[in-house]
């Protein structure tokens, strides 16, 4: 018997009991399809996250408060048990004034408040207090109206720019410009609406409300000791003139802030991060996520393999008479073993093929009907397909061996 004949024999046997064959393959089909779909979802997510992050520009440095250190080092006489320390508003001006190679500095401080406009009330809306360069540094585009200027920030003007979705939720199709929104009792005048931006690192930029940072300091996060130590900020974005000065700027900022906060670099109450760091962290997270999905899918493949073994064992018992007949006309144990092994492998491969089609189709449907982006990775098809074949060989071996060892006399007597 050569390979072509073995394949033909397996194919005929599979075809002669289509329902059983389909049920046998189902486990493999689902396993392979889920491997491909899961990997395509995680790759899609990864790709869009990366795109969004790099969309912010690669010449950006983030300075954030390092909470673990806050209050630990600074011997502030106003000591309020961990409430002091961290970045303050004036740090941003200091960076802008004293660090060379800086293009723009943007400060952010946020708060969660209740927003009212007309008879619409929304709870838990994020109010982002910021400065004039925010749109350019964070890659946001104004759709209608305008963003506020630094003068308006300095004068604590009660004005607001709405995220795209938020504007629709509050005002529907009506023009929001010039309207008033009430944020936890403070009336703010709408001067602009942002264009759609989407999710970046799990934050929906379209559902936020943007005001001058000074308004946030004054109305939403009034610090007890602001008069003495300045207003606390969450993050300072520093845009560089060009990416080459990155290392130098990070050093300058570190030294400047350490001096201003009166701490050593080792126990700094702030962290300076780059775009690259964030992408790497993000990649590590999604890679872990993807690996987890791959494992889950791998387990389902194994379950599919056990299904194949199960049905093959039943099939061996059911076909004992056939095996006896074949043995009586001269089939050797090897012939029988190969017949059943080939059948299991062909079943797995056909199941794998259907699974690949279902996986690619499923990924496409998933990407179309849901917000999630999917990206079918060719290697995942290969991976799923070869594991299906491996599963077939592995789980087909035991039943095939069992068939090969049947005694011809017993087998012929089997009803």
């Amino acid at each position: 018997m050569n390979l072509a004949e073995l394949l033909l024999l397996a194919w005929e046997s599979i075809g002669s009991n289509k329902m059983r064959s389909l049920l046998t393959m189902l486990g493999i089909i689902i396993g392979v399809a889920s491997v491909i779909i899961m990997i395509s979802i995680s790759s899609g997510t990864e790709a869009s996250i990366e795109e969004q992050i790099t969309g912010l520009g690669s010449n950006l440095v983030y300075v954030t408060t390092s909470f673990g250190r806050v209050g630990a080092a600074r011997g502030n006489p106003m000591g309020g048990g961990g409430m002091e320390g961290g970045l303050i508003y004036d740090d941003a001006f200091a960076i802008a004034d004293e660090v060379s190679g800086v293009e723009a500095v943007v400060v952010e401080q946020s708060s969660s408040e209740t927003v009212k406009a007309g008879d619409v009330t929304l709870d838990g809306v994020t109010i982002v207090g910021s400065t004039a360069d925010f749109p350019s540094v964070r890659d946001m585009e104004i759709d209608e109206g305008r963003y506020f200027t630094q003068q308006e920030v300095d004068r604590t003007q009660k004005i607001v720019v709405l995220g795209h979705t938020l504007a629709q939720e509050l005002f529907g199709d009506a023009d929001p410009i010039g309207q008033t929104v009430t944020v936890s009792g403070t009336k703010l005048t709408v001067i602009g609406v942002f264009a759609e931006r989407g999710m970046v690192s799990g934050v929906d930029f379209d559902a936020q409300l943007y005001t001058p940072i000074t308004v946030v300091f004054q109305k939403f996060t009034p610090a007890q000791f602001a008069r003495f130590i300045g207003d606390r900020v969450r993050v300072i974005y520093v845009e560089l003139e060009n990416p080459e000065v990155m290392e130098n700027v990070i050093q300058q900022i570190s030294f400047l802030l350490a001096k201003r906060h009166d701490v050593s670099l080792e126990e700094a109450d702030f962290t300076v991060t780059t775009q690259q760091d964030i992408i790497q962290t993000q990649e590590a997270t999604t890679a872990a996520f993807r690996n987890l999905l791959a494992w889950v899918a791998g387990v389902s493949l194994i379950v599919g393999g056990i299904g194949i073994m199960n049905i093959m064992l039943v099939s061996v018992t059911e076909r004992t008479r056939e095996i006896g007949i074949r043995q009586s006309v001269g089939a050797t144990p090897d012939d029988i073993r190969w017949q059943f092994l080939t059948e299991a492998v062909v079943l797995s491969l056909v199941g794998g093929l259907i699974g690949v089609l279902a996986g690619v189709g499923g990924s496409w449907i998933f990407g179309t009907v849901s917000d999630m982006r999917t990206l079918v990775v060719p290697i995942s098809i290969l991976l799923a397909f070869t594991s299906a074949a491996a599963v077939g060989i592995f789980f087909g071996f035991y039943p095939a061996n069992k068939a090969a060892q049947l005694d011809p006399i017993e087998a012929l007597r089997h009803e």
């Binding site: 056939e322 001269g330 089939a331």
Partner: protein, 249 residues
């Protein structure tokens, strides 16, 4: 007809179990069957005739003694070698036909050729050979019928064609007419006689003396031993039927 022995069984024993509780299904059976003979094996159930047929058919090995098939000692062969012997030297005809279900008559008959390692033939060649023997047994017009679409007599003819296709030295028939009505049974016996006329060596198990008497010799078994051997005359008596000649292969 030549006097070349096809079957030489020498003190063949088949013992099941060990020591005190062992049972001898065959207790020293010696037979010689020459080429071209048509021999019947008879005996009550438990006489060892099934065991003997299994050993003669190389489906089983004797515990003691020697079985020489066509001048080759097969009593010490392993499973793989025995499979080869069954494939090339022996043609089986069973009481219950033992055809592969959902498989055409042609494919069923091609099966032994499929497993022939010594002589690999192309699928076309095998099909042509299977077609030839199916025509010999009178089923030239039923090639693509599956067993469930054929009558019992026709199914047994397919089985005979399958036994013949590899041109074996020995045909073993185990109650070939046992599942058939009288008329079909006679047709099958007629076919076996034709094969005998053509020089085939046939050993047939039967419980029907009427059928056994049409063979040359009847071997009576009892309790695992040969009780007696009865000569039914010099030649077998074929039933009336069309004479079929085939080419000597």
């Amino acid at each position: 007809m030549s006097e070349r022995p096809i079957i030489q069984a020498i003190e063949v024993k088949k013992i099941y179990g060990m020591g005190e509780i062992s049972v001898a299904a065959l207790d020293g059976v010696s037979i010689t069957i020459d080429e071209g003979e048509f021999v019947a094996v008879m005996g009550p159930s438990g006489s060892g005739k099934s065991t003997l047929m299994n050993i003669l058919g190389c489906l089983d090995r004797p515990t003691e003694g020697h079985y020489i098939l066509d001048s080759e000692d097969v009593s010490e062969m392993d499973r793989k070698q025995l499979a080869g012997i069954r494939n090339r030297r022996i043609g089986f005809i069973f009481q219950s036909y033992n055809l592969l279900p959902r498989t055409s008559a042609l494919k069923n008959v091609m099966l032994p050729l499929f497993y022939n390692r010594n002589h690999k033939r192309s699928p076309e060649e095998r099909e042509a050979m299977a077609r030839d023997v199916l025509e010999i047994v009178g089923l030239g017009d039923r090639l693509n019928h599956q067993p469930q679409e054929l009558s019992g007599g026709e199914q047994q003819r397919v089985a005979i064609a399958r036994a013949l296709v590899g041109d074996p030295v020995l045909i073993l028939a185990d109650e070939p007419t046992g599942n058939l009505d009288t008329r079909s049974g006679e047709e099958i016996m007629g076919l076996l006689h034709e094969l005998h006329q053509d020089g085939r060596t046939i050993v047939m198990v039967t419980h029907d003396p009427e059928i056994a008497i049409h063979t040359q010799r009847t071997i009576h078994l009892r309790d695992g031993r040969i009780e007696k051997v009865v000569n039914n005359g010099s030649g077998s008596k074929p039933l009336e039927g069309e004479k079929v000649r085939h080419e000597s292969r």
